[in-house]
Symmetry: C2
Subunit: 384 residues, 2 copies
């Protein structure tokens, strides 16, 4: 069901031939209304792909009829020819649906610097438009996969009679300012684009933005939230925020677990911070430390590498009054060892690092992966 | 010869038994004067090891009699017991040499969080003091090695009759604010500690601080420059600066080439920047991008990953007017592909990335390594 769990949406995923492996590579999600409200969050990378440049214009008025996505090429650093491909894609969707191209979001993912095969892509758009159905949510989710090993979907249904559905792709390059990821979320709740925007930003800030799989930020990341209002129900905003955040968290965790070549999912829970900004900064610094990440891969509870990473930040703390736990074992307190590191069991896939800065009451959790042989293999052999 | 190429210095390197493999692990360098001028640069990590906390006090008056270094343990996050070990080490050197402990720098390197074996260390200090000689510079360089595959030394002799000698250890964790490295440089030129300090900071800024092997910053990094004045010659400051920078560059390149598990040395030359700060920021961002580093390991000229890394910085540039070359081949210009990526030959160990921001006239070069299977192996199996 995924994006089609919310009423008012139809979707399709088809094979256009952009991917060499012959898998589905064009995905279309259409909002049949009555509302056409929408909000987006884009990568903060300054080197933006053509579809992001296009979609930033589309979202300006908060109204979106459809979103078309392709895998098999990022359409980034492809110059004016690449931008024309994006434009032509939106025009084709508009023509087939009888809407304005200016209301069609475009997303692409894949290798930077290669032109997309425009005829193949446009033929794929036609096939997708012909296949639109409330039953094709899963197909749509499959068509945005790149190195993903599984498609990612999530949904929440409110007892009040409205729903949120989502699909995501991403398996690496997960970093703040989003990730190499495309996410489409739909809802049939009756909400304005302003409310969608505010709630989406709140949700991504504490979910996708807290993923830092490998510190690398993509040129194409887009999270789009489309609202049809088809349930006819105006939701309680707090409940909508809660369920939207849950959908984002659920998708984010699926991205994390599928991160390229990882063998551990690592949760870095920073507490006792003077501010949320400090907590996030400390968590990210640890999440990006290759020595720490390699140690976790080796099941080595090397807490010195955690403190060495914390020490590179400007967060407020006393370096000799930081508590560090690994999977619940207190390994360092007051600037010295506490429990023996041998007590830590790192064989489970999930690893929880606790860092108490003993300074304030703010907290944040950053999610990352270990640095493995397989990560190196996948990213040295795959051009993305 | 190394640190003993400069007149007025004796050195020793001995086996104290701190290292499990039985290799040399205590190194001592003594300045016999007549001057006892000195300068240091320490890691900017806020989580400092005990020897750094100690040495920061020692250098305050710009006078140093000797420097004692051990491998086999970082003496970091070892609490007051660890600090007392550092203090006792300096006291033992002072007693043996008949100088003040407050004029003895202490450096340690190895695993964080383990106490050093104080009796073994102090016995090693005695053995080192007994073995001091102008012939033992190489021994001293060997005794500071950890995962280094070779000892690192450099020297320059001025036609004017004075010399500079140096030794270094480091093979990973190389990042701005120095690296996991200990460096001792000696000179017999007649110079005040103020001049030594100024010239050392100038030299490290453009050498050690431009290494970024894996983005990780250590808790123990120290670069010390000791001046004996034993040549009796006051040097031309510009020549001294030049030769000192050469010695630092030489040692830095040796650290780079020996970086843990690397298969490529990568030079990221950023030009056309509005400021040196911008150039360094852009170079570092690329140097720390795991996807880029894995691609180079795979001999894949994936220039999209370079631009994606550049785009995460706040440096001044037009994202669609950046020239990127890889080993001399122009792979991207004006926001699109230029020459075919297949023209790039990445089989040599040395890789040169050129990034012209087309904004100003400033430049900087950052040196890094690729991300390899061997890096992951070494850092997942070795507790450091």
């Amino acid at each position: 069901m995924t994006v089609t769990v919310a009423k008012g949406f139809v979707a399709a995923g088809v094979v256009a031939g952009l991917k060499k492996n012959g898998n589905k590579d064009v995905s279309l999600v259409v909002n049949q209304g009555p509302l056409k409200a929408a909000a987006t969050v884009f990568t903060t990378n300054r080197c933006l792909a053509n579809p992001v440049l296009w979609s930033k214009q589309v979202i300006a008025d908060g109204e979106v009829e459809a979103i078309i996505l392709n895998s098999g090429g990022a359409n980034c650093y492809t110059g004016s020819e690449g931008f024309q491909t994006t434009h032509a894609t939106a025009e084709k969707v508009a023509e087939l649906l009888g809407v304005s191209a200016g209301d069609v979001l475009v997303c692409s993912t894949g290798l930077i610097g290669d032109q997309l095969d425009r005829p193949k892509l446009l033929a794929g758009v036609e096939a997708a438009a012909a296949g639109l159905s409330t039953e094709n949510g899963l197909q749509a989710a499959e068509a945005i996969m790149t190195t993903d090993s599984v498609s990612k979907t999530a949904q929440r249904v409110s007892g009040a009679g409205w729903a949120i559905g989502g699909m995501a792709k991403g398996a690496g390059m997960l970093a703040p300012g989003l990730a190499t990821m495309l996410v489409v979320i739909t809802t049939d709740a009756v909400l304005t684009s302003d409310i969608l925007d505010a709630t989406l930003r709140n949700a991504t800030r504490v979910t996708f933005d807290r993923l830092d799989s490998d510190g690398c930020m993509s040129t194409n990341d887009t999270v789009a939230l489309l609202g049809s209002g088809a349930s006819g129900i105006t939701p309680d905003i707090a409940e909508f925020q809660r369920l939207l955040t849950e959908v984002c968290h659920d998708l984010a965790q699926q991205l994390l677990t599928d991160a390229e070549g990882s063998s551990h999912d690592i949760e870095i829970a920073v507490t006792g911070a003077a501010s949320e900004v400090d907590a996030v900064m400390v968590g990210r610094s640890v999440a990006r430390n290759n020595l720490f990440k390699a140690a976790i891969y080796g099941n080595d509870p090397n807490w010195g590498r955690i403190l060495a990473a914390v020490g590179t930040t400007s967060a407020e703390f006393d370096p000799y009054n930081i508590d560090v736990t690994i999977n619940g074992v207190s390994v360092s307190r007051l600037g010295q060892p506490d429990q023996p590191r041998d007590l830590v069991d790192l064989t489970p896939r999930k690893v929880v690092i606790g860092i108490n800065l003993n300074t304030g009451t703010e907290a944040a959790t950053i999610y990352t992966n270990d640095l493995t042989h397989k990560y190196v293999t996948e990213n040295s052999e795959y051009s993305s």
